[in-house]
Symmetry: C2
Subunit: 220 residues, 2 copies
DNA sequence: ATAATTTTTTAGGTTAGTCTAAATTTTTAT
DNA sequence: ATAAAAATTTAGACTAACCTAAAAAATTAT
């Protein structure tokens, strides 16, 4: 059975939104920028193809098969992003739309060859983990910088990739994956932060920006 | 104005078939494996978009705009083929279907970056010339090995890429782009040839196979 | 030159994926 | 507990790209 590009996009969205429990028609409608009626239509088709489990008025969840497909797409998307950044010298804010197309390219063994060519990378340019050939996705235990309550040393491990201008702003601040952030002070009033990056002069950062940065706590 | 993947496929076919003069509905129908009625429909749309010039019952020719698009697609296709063979170690008979998909991927500057990454190759894995960044396609003056009338030394410069099993057969004969073929004898009866490749022991080759090999005459 | 054949177009229908508007179900607020 | 609001589904329509069958035009053969 073949699954269209559009169907694949639904599966990816459901995967992304299904953090806890089932995904509502409205949530999908907003995420895909389509009308709710269109979502209902498609969910029926996806259910017919056993990619999701769907009961009227009760939202949708991925089946095992649907989840496998989602992980394949995520693997493809992230590996192509690595290719675009590492090999074609794109910036991290430029690759999403292109990878969105490349992830739908099919070919015997293509993605595993690409994986090997890239040196079996574990993370994409934004720090998101790449599912391995067995589609195992290893999640790290990270915190949003904006939610942290104690001053200390943290390592930038992942950034929110949904907004190119956010990524451009991080570039302007010269914040990259792997950087060490020292959190000096928390302003409780508005959640903004006083930090320094890789031991350079300290800067202020809004809570909004800090929430797009995921960090790993270092032991000193 | 945006041009769909399907429209692009028509443009490529017209380019390929338009060797001399205009292309007939039937020729396109066979090349694209679609019914003639569908071709007529689409030609009207392509004419509306100024990609072709089309008059009822008189076949179709590409406009300047259509020709530019065709060359862009050929450039993309051939560069992706180089990528697949050079970087991902595919064989020359395995890349066509994947490149067919990759050629439709759009992205600012993508193909020029790929071109640079690959070292500005002049030919694809089958020896077809790659249009440069200005879309100039330099054609070589080659002959089909099966049409040659005089014994002598020739260089394999291009092979017919339409048939994977033909390419596999060439691989079995260990014939590659750049190889030197010595044509010892022509059998006029059936057009078959007695040749040797890179000075190894001589072999016979059918006229059919020889016609899929394009060669350049060497001076001795 | 006309009849037969082939090519091409037209007319009307199908499917995937979207839409709007209306109907229905669920949730929330009183 | 019921009314109002929100979410969801149904019904019917649209577009792109295909199809079949029939009509029309062009070509070929007698």
């Amino acid at each position: 059975m073949q699954i269209s590009k559009n169907e694949q996009d639904y599966i990816k969205s459901i995967f992304k939104l299904q953090a806890d429990g089932s995904v509502s028609t409205t949530a999908l409608s907003e995420h895909l920028h389509l009308k709710a009626a269109s979502i209902t239509d498609m969910l029926k088709k996806l259910a017919d193809k056993k990619l999701v489990s769907y009961k009227k008025y009760q939202g949708v969840t991925l089946s095992t098969k649907g989840e496998k497909l989602a992980l394949e797409l995520i693997r493809k998307h992230r590996l192509w992003e690595v290719f675009l950044v590492e090999k074609l010298n794109y910036k991290w804010d430029e690759v999403h739309a292109i990878a969105e197309q490349l992830e739908h390219v099919e070919g015997l063994d293509l993605i595993n060859r690409l994986d090997k060519f890239l040196g079996l990378p574990k993370f994409d340019p934004h720090g998101d983990p790449i599912p391995n050939e067995k589609l195992v996705l290893t999640k790290q235990n990270l915190s949003q910088l904006g939610k942290i309550t104690k001053p200390g040393k943290y390592q930038v491990s992942m950034v929110n990739q949904d907004n190119p201008s956010f990524l451009q702003y991080l570039t302007k601040l010269s914040i990259k994956i792997g950087d060490i952030i020292k959190l000096h002070e928390l302003i409780t009033f508005d959640g903004s932060l006083n930090i320094s990056i890789n031991n350079s002069t300290s800067i202020f950062m809004s809570n909004t920006v800090a929430n797009g940065i995921y960090v790993y706590k270092l032991n000193n």
